[in-house]
Structure formats: C-alpha cells, structure tokens
Symmetry: D2
Subunit: 337 residues, 4 copies
C-alpha cells in the first residue's frame, strides 16, 4: 500500500518535501522527480533512488506515479494540477493553488467534473497542534460563538524581491485560510491599513500592514503582517468569543534565567516554527490517499484564498473596503444544494 | 505641609478617593466635602472628621481647602474645575474633564490665563507599573520607533444603562490617553468597526467594537472594546516597534495546578486590577502639590481626549474615518512656539 | 489617632522604615529617633521633623512615643524589645527578634507576663500578595492537605562578610517563618546538604546550600539558598497538596520580544521584589495599633524562628538531621491549654 | 536499506512501538513478532503483515530479522538482550535493561566482548525537545557549571499493584538516566525522604517520596516522585548553574480565558506528554542502525541506572545515604583507559 509519488519542482521546498516523504513519512516513496533545471532534478533523484523525468507532464502520466506533489514555480501550479486531475491522480499543490482566481476556479470545476476529491493545497497551519487545539475549543463551544480574531504574522526580514502585494499573496495567505477553517465561516470583505513603514525595509515596501477582514456571520479579524520585525518569526492568534478567548501560546523549549533576565528563544523561521505541522501535513495526506478519502484543504479552499487574496491586494491599492465575490459553493464542496 | 482637600461628590468613586486620601496617601487630609445628596455628604464627612458644605462652590472657596477633588456627576465637572482655577486652587478631576470639547477648551484657556498648572485629570493608567515599564522601554529605544499598538479593554458585563457611545466615552477614553502618553504622539483620526454583537449584551448596544486610531507620525492602533466578555476584566496592550515589541503581562498572584489544569484567576474589575495605580495616582498628586510642580495628565490631555472621543463617536455613527481636529497646542502645554 | 513612633537605629533599613512611616503609611508620625552615630540620628531626625534622643532607652520611655521601631544592630534587639514591653509600648522589631533563642524566649515570657500582644517581628513575606494568595488557596482547600514545599531563595551576590551560617540566619530565616505561617504547622527538624560550591563565592562560604525541613504533620520542605546566583534576586515557592499545587508566579512588569528572544527582567534585590510587601507590613502594623489588635508575626514566631535557625546551623555543621526543640506553646500564643 | 524488525512482547507498549515502526518511522518494517500469549501475537502480526513466531529466541535468530525490540515482561529482558548480542543483532530494550544489576553487568560485558555497540535502552526523555534544549544550553555554558537540579515526576494516580520500590524502579528511573545524561556526570549516592503520604494512595504505598542524589562532581539533585497527584502528568526540571538556571516549560497547546480564569490543560499521561519524544526515539534508532552507528542510551546507561536504582531502593528502606557502587567504566563505554 506504499504511495508512489512524483515531485514536480526540486527547489528548496520541493527538496524539503522529498526529504519528508523519504525520511519522515511512512507509506510513501518518491519514484519520479522533475525540474526546469534538469541537472538538479537528476541529483535529487539520485539521492533518493528515484528517476528524473524530462517534464512535469511526464511525471504526471508516469505509470509508476500514484500521486503528484507540485512544488514548482507558482505560475506553473494550475497547469500541473489540471493535468493531474485529467490523469485521475492525487495532487498535493504548494500554495498558491493558482496565481489567478480564474485558474483556481478552473481547477475547482475540473475536480468537480472528475467527481472525486483529488487536490490538496499546502496550507500547513491546519496541522499545527496549537491551531488544532484552538479549533477544537471553538468547536466544543469553549469560548461561545466567535466574534473577533486578532492575528499577527511576523518575519525577521524580507529580501528586496519581496513587494507589498506579497504581504497578502505569500504571507497573509496562511491566515486567510486559517481564519476560514478555524471559524468555519467565509471572509466577505477586506481592508488594508498602511501604518508608517519601518526604516528596516527596502524602500518600495509597505511594511507593516494591518489587514481587516469580515466574515459572513459578522466576525471581525485584524491581522498584522510585519515582515521585517527583526526579532524573529512570530505567529500570534487569539479568537474572542461570547464567553471567552483562546490564544496560541508563545512556543518555548526551555526558560533561562541569566544576566538579570528570564528569557526564551524566539524561532527565526517558519521551517523551525512549523516543523511538526509540515511533518503531519504530508503524513496525513499520504494516509488519506491510502484510505481513499482526502480530508485536507482542497480546491475550493485554494480558490477562496485566491479570491480573498485578490480582494486584499485591491484593498491595499485602493484604500477601500473591498467585497470578496466568490462563486456559490457547489454542493460537491460542502455548499448548500 | 499637609494638603487640605475638599471633595465635591461623595458617590462610589468619591468615597473611594476619600478613603485613599485618608487611609493610604500620606500628607493629605480631607477637610470638606459636598454632594447633591446632603445627607450622604454629612455621613461621609462624619466618617473622616471633615465638614459637609452645602455646595461645590462653598468647598472650592473654603479657606481651609488647598486643593479640590471633583468626583461629581460628569456634566458638572467643567464648572467646578473652572471655579477652582478662578480660585487659584489645585484641582483633581475624575474623567471626563468636561463632557464637551468646548468646555474642555475653556478649561485649557482658563488655566493658561492663570499662568500655572492647576488641573490634573484622573487618567490612572499612567500610574500602572506595567504601563510605566512599557513607556520606559519605548523611551529607551528598547523596541525602536513604534509603528503599531494592539490593545484590548474587556469588562465582564455592562449594565442596561451602558450605551454604544460609552464604549468610547467611558471605556476607550483610558486607552486614548494611554496611547498619546505612551507614544508621546497625537491621535489624528479614528474609525470604528462593528463586529457582530455578542448575544450577552442589552439589545441596544454595539458590543464589541474595534476602534482604529492613527497618530501624527503614522502609528496605527487597533483597540478592542468588549464590555460583556463574561470572563473578567482584562486589559491588554502590545506596542510594536521597528526592532521589537513590548507587552503587558497577564497579572497572576499564584498559579494553580489542579483538576487537569494549570490556571490563575483573572481580575473581575478595574478596582482590583488597578488598585496600586489608583493609590500611586493620588499619592503622586499630593506630593506634586507639596512640591508645587504638577506632573500628571493635565487640561490639555483632558481636552485632547475629549476631541478624540468626539471623533470616535462620530466614526461609530458614520462608519467613516473621522479626522481629529485639535487646536494648536499652546507653548504653555508643551507645544511648539 | 495618629500613632507617634520612635525609631531606634537609623541605618539603611531604619531610614527606609522612616521614609515609609513618613511618606507612604498614613496615620503614623516619626517623633523621635536615635542611633549609635548621634550625628546620623540628628540628620535623619531633622529630615522628618523628629527629635534625636541620646539612647534607645530614651526613645522607649519618651512620653510622646506610642510605639517603637527597632532597626538597630541585631545583638541589641532583645534588650530594646524587652524595655519596650516593660514600658508597655508596641514594638516592631526587624528580624532577628533576638540573636539567641534564650533571649527570644525571655521576650516571649515578658510579653505573656504583660498580658497583651505588644511585639511584632519584621517578617515581611507575610504581606506579599503572592504568598497571601497562596495561603488563601491552601486555607480554602484548593490543593488539599499540603504534603511538600519546594522553595528557592537566590541573591545575585553576597559580600565577603557573609558567612555560611548567615545562609540560615539572614536568608533562610524568611522561608522558615513563611513555611510555618503558610502551613499553619511547626517545623520539627532540619538537615542541610552541601552541594559543590559555586566558584563565584568568597572561599570561606558554602554556597549554595540545600535545607530540608520536616513539620509536625510530616510535610517535607526543600529550600535552595543560593546567594551568589549572579542573575538576580529570585524567590520561588511551590506548595504541593493532595489534589494540586500552588506556586508563586515569576514577576514581570512587561514582556519584550527583541533580538531573537522573549524576555522579562528579573529583580535585582529584595527592596525591589518586596517593595509592596514592606509598605503593607508597616501600614497594617500602624492600623493594628490604632485598632488595638496586633495581628502580624509576633514574639512566638520570632522565638520559633530562632530555635529553628539554631537547629539548621547545627545541621549545617554536623551534617545530621537535627531536631527542633521548642518549648510548649503557651495558650497565650495560641497553643493548646 | 529497510531495517527488518522483530518484536518480542506485544502488550501495550509493544503494540505502541509496532504502530510507530509501521506508521510513523520510515525505513523500518516489522517482520516478526512473538508473545507469551500466542493468540495476541498472531492478531498483532496479522495487523501489520508480519509473521508470529513461537518464541523470542525464534525471533532473534530469524534470518529476516535485522534488529530486535524487547518489550516483554521485565524479568525476561536480560535473557533476550543477551541472546540478541549472541546473534550479533541490534536490540532496543524497553527499560529496565535488566531487573538486577548483575544481569545488566552481564549484558555490558557481553556487548564489550562482541566488540561493537548493539544495545539501546528505552530512555526516551533524551529525545524530548525540552530536555535536548536544556542539554544544549548546559553544554554551551549558558548557565555556567551545574550545581543543582530540582525535579518533579508526577502521575495522576497509581494502581494498587504499584508499590513503594516502583517509585524508583519504574518512575524515578527516567530521571536517573536524564540526570546522568544532562550533566554528563555520575550519580554517587542516593537518599530518600518520606513525607506524610497522601490519603489518595493505596495504603501500602509511600507517596510522595523525595529522592536526593549527589554526583561525582558534587551536584545535588532533589527529585519529587508523586504518583497520585490527582491533577495530571507533570514533569518538571530545573538545572541551576553558577551563572543561571534552565528550566523545562509548562507545555500548553492553547491558553483559554473563560469563567474568571486564564488556563491551559495539563497532560494526563506520559503517552501524551512524550509522544514526540517516543517518535523521535525510534526514528533515530532506526536511522542509527542504517548508519551503523548506535548513538542512544546503551548498556552502560542501563547498568548504571540499575545500580543507582538499587541504591535508591536501599535508601528508601534504610533511611540512610547509600553510596552507588559502579564498576569502573570500561574504555569501550567511554571510560578512562
């Protein structure tokens, strides 16, 4: 019952997933890889005893490949996911599912036409122990009906290539999915505030940004995105309900008392902070394929995130409250018939 | 060098201040009191060996009164403060300094005309140990230049008489002053978001509210006001700067481990949460009178809070971003000449 | 109803108490002081408008003195306390009540003969908010019957004059009283372990030490005394009961996130850590004199602490478990008739 | 390079390890199992596609078995481990390595004679993220030279079959290994204090117990073992060094504020608390076999733990400080030549 996996894109994240599928997750075997850089593909393939194939399409249609992992350049995601659906194969696609809402919608429609769930999107926050406990508390009524969320997403520093739209597309995209999933509710509008930017950024960047979302049921969310906060990688989230609140803890391995201070180290990156979540994400994906019942974030979540992301970028540019216009959710994806 | 004090208004907060001036703060003696309820005034006076006088004006002009504490009904504050200035006496006025910005401005002008600081406003947060440590950290550059603040002000429950404007006028007014003081910056606009209201409120009330402020230097502040949060009285504040953040701790007397939980009690009201701050506020006020150098929040702070409060209430009703229009700050109050 | 106070000993702690009685505590007035250094006594007296008298005895019998504070050199304490009892005056004596158990017992007997409580000993931990909450939790059965306590008493550094016996006499003496008071139980034996000493001490000193106490009801307490811990002044205490534990929090004014760390400052000395407890101690002492009902730690507590301290020092030298041999507690001090 | 594993003993812990080797750890395959209950062995074998063999010896000598996991009844451990060494196979043995120090020593000698490391003992604390961070901090000199450790090991409740010696043999055994490993030092003596026992225990049991250890370099350790603490499974550890301390955090998935309290849940058992450590333990064991370089706790650690455990039980019975008498550590196990 080993799941044979083909990986499209052997860059940093692709290699990390290959390492996980090979050395951490049981029941999986990487059997074929490809990359635009054929030499890199070959090296990576050799390291795990897989074959390097010329193109993504070759990987997808390969007879020995049961499921595909897409970790190539973002603009190529939609094409590969559509091809995998066409081939009737499971596909795990790193975010974004597609770089345009239109492409994401094509995937939704293709999957619906295929008649069964094949697509999972790489929203790994859903596999973090803290977020899962938060969802459980909310679901059990531990804080009453949710009314508010306060979130922060901070990175120590962003490279020059990071531009203001990426604060939504690359960074807030995680919270956009997490909010929808935690609340089991849909985001209906977005607004972006522009505080004074930090002097520690590249000139062209608006950083930090405050994003404000509203959901269908009227929950309000404020999200700080600050990608040059200097001190570390820090993810905060508090959900406020009618009778209480639930909040992520500050992670700590140990507490030191030294030199006049009580202190603990802050993680410096998402790899470190969400290491266990990434492991669990792929482990559960592989297990769900073995069970034949995909359960993780799917096409519709990828599509919704794309539309909300577009609205947020629009809000950044316009300074206005921008409504999110999603298609009606098909019954196939849990919508009302 | 005992400061002889007259108290106008012997309701709950008045009696509490009298208790403090008598039993907690050294160097002060309550020598005269008054109240619209003459009988209550007499009882309170008897309890501390003071005289009960017929009117506030009588207290203010009384030869044995060095300084006046105004804890009467809000709409009467401005009149008493103006009379105290007229009489050349120090006056400590509970918030609000005045119920209209116009009246607050008249006080500012009267005090400036008098040529010396006489007025202190009851913004006791400035005397809290946590907020003071935060101000010190910011002032020492411990987090770099401030860019953002995240605040929450939660009360367990609000009575039926509490209406939506009071979320600003009675509740957020504390944060409005605290923000200005912590950042040493001026608030220039306000916006109010209306989340879905909790079912635990009286019908007429918008609760919670999210208030958004911007300062002259571009700092953005989000403030949750939630006066029916059920679980306790909870004040949160995090200031985010270019190189770090500083945050109030969760107060705890002791930590219990019992019945499957690690837990501590949350305060149930402001009296408990800010007991030490109230003590320090009056102690430092009395000491500053003895020194002849008032140092606490003054007329200009009361005026600014009134104008910002008006803008915030306007923002609640209009749904718009409302600019704060303050007079130019006179040199007397630290403005640029 | 002002309590007129005479202070014997105007060294650091004496001046600190005078400052408190003058500037922090209401209802008290320092009317006379004395010191072996007559010039210092004069200066201190002048600063607060008191009279400088030649000797402690002069202060005690002074007609304008209602109550005496003894903050002179330890070996003189017993003599002054006995004289105050003789004079029928209230006396607050800094620890130790006496430098020998015999002298402490003479005080106990003198007070009992006088027929009313006159003596309070300066065990200020009983006035700390955390310890009080702990006592309340224990008293309310919040952790069931106590079985164990884990304590630590750490100072950043000790001077050369600090010797190994002082770890008990000057340092652990606070825990000795606190344990008895928290548990409402008597210490019956002491043992001292000698870990490898820190290289950061003066050569002659055993530091750290682990003290082990047992109470009459069988509760076991371990106490780390470490007076050269370098990093700060840190007091820890956890009481373990049949159904749970209760623990002092780590004090924090604010939390910083900066330079890869989440941190707060540790206090550097007992003055800072227990500032509020010292204020409350003297305020409640003065108030209890006004009420005519002394309620703080008294002669018997001072005597018991002295006997337990002797046993602990004996245990340090002998390496044995040393029994504590107290007289039977007289009914006057709450013992069984 | 899949490691084929034979499991001896398919009780609770055996099944748990089989689940891990099959569903969590990559690179391993359970190929043969056995149990005294042949029917249970068959069922478990069927569940993972392994063969059920009649005896442990059959498993050990099976040609398809590369490495053996011993999770049978404690008294049988030594025999199986010796047989595995004899067969030249890697063997992972749950604690205890042997029920007598003599048997443990026979294993040490057999492995030394075999000339290469084959044995790993199931001390999973070494794989916990917190303990690892603590060891790293100590190793980097973050707290200076260690002087003290304070530990607590609490379980919610112990069954009637749990007797006083098991507080050492089954419970403290984990700390005994952890202390040796964290400090890289040897325990040279043990003492046990007997506090009043909790009323929540079975009559025959001494619970809690305070164990006191000393190391060769003079570090003193106090360890509370309390197996009926009622509130949860709670592991505490603080190491105190010359310049600071390092302490395990209180684990928390989320923090709730509700009903007047700020709280988080305490784990209820070791499976939950150390789930990630167990995963990592087996994963690293399998990986180290693939590398041919065993790195986890070995025979010598199992032998030392057995001798220290014996001394501690002796100390419990005698009330004395009992010296630990280990053989000289052979060079093969890192001892000095």
């Amino acid at each position: 019952m080993t799941v044979h996996i083909g990986v499209i894109g052997t860059g940093m994240i692709g290699q990390d997933h290959i390492r996980r599928l090979t050395g951490v997750v049981t029941g999986a075997e990487v059997t074929a890889v490809t990359d635009v850089d054929a030499r890199r593909a070959k090296e990576v393939a050799a390291g795990v005893g897989a074959r390097a194939l010329p193109t993504g399409q070759d990987v997808i249609v390969d007879a020995l490949v049961d499921a595909v992992v897409v970790t190539s350049w973002g603009p190529t995601h939609a094409e590969y996911v559509l091809a995998a659906i066409e081939a009737g194969k499971y596909v795990f696609c790193e975010k974004p599912l597609a770089t345009t809402a239109e492409d994401a919608l094509r995937i939704v429609e293709a999957e619906e036409a295929a008649g069964r769930r094949l697509v999972q999107v790489g929203f790994m926050r859903r596999y973090d122990q803290g977020y899962r406990a938060m969802k459980r508390v909310i679901g059990e009524g531990g804080i009453g009906s949710p009314l508010l969320m306060h979130c922060a997403h901070r990175n120590p520093a962003a490279p020059e290539s990071y531009h203001s739209e990426m604060a939504t597309q690359d960074t807030a995209i995680h919270e956009i999915d997490t909010i929808r999933w935690l609340l089991d509710d849909e985001i209906v509008s977005a607004q972006v505030l522009r505080p004074r930017s930090t002097s520690k950024r590249f000139e062209h960047l608006q950083d930090p940004q405050i994003m404000l979302f509203e959901t269908a049921s009227g929950v309000r969310i404020d999200l700080e995105v600050f990608v040059n906060c200097q001190y570390g990688y820090d993810i905060q989230c508090e959900t406020v309900g009618e009778t209480g609140t639930v909040r992520l803890p500050d992670p700590a391995d140990v507490w030191l008392r030294t030199a006049g201070q009580l202190r603990t180290e802050v993680a410096q990156g998402w790899k470190e902070r969400f290491a266990a979540a990434f492991d669990r994400e792929l482990a559960e994906w592989v297990a769900s394929i073995q069970d034949g019942r995909l359960a993780g974030p799917g096409s519709w979540d990828g599509y919704a995130a794309a539309v909300i992301s577009d609205a947020t970028v629009d809000a950044l540019h316009s300074g206005r409250v921008v409504p999110v216009r999603l298609k009606d959710r098909p019954a196939f994806y849990g919508g009302r018939p």
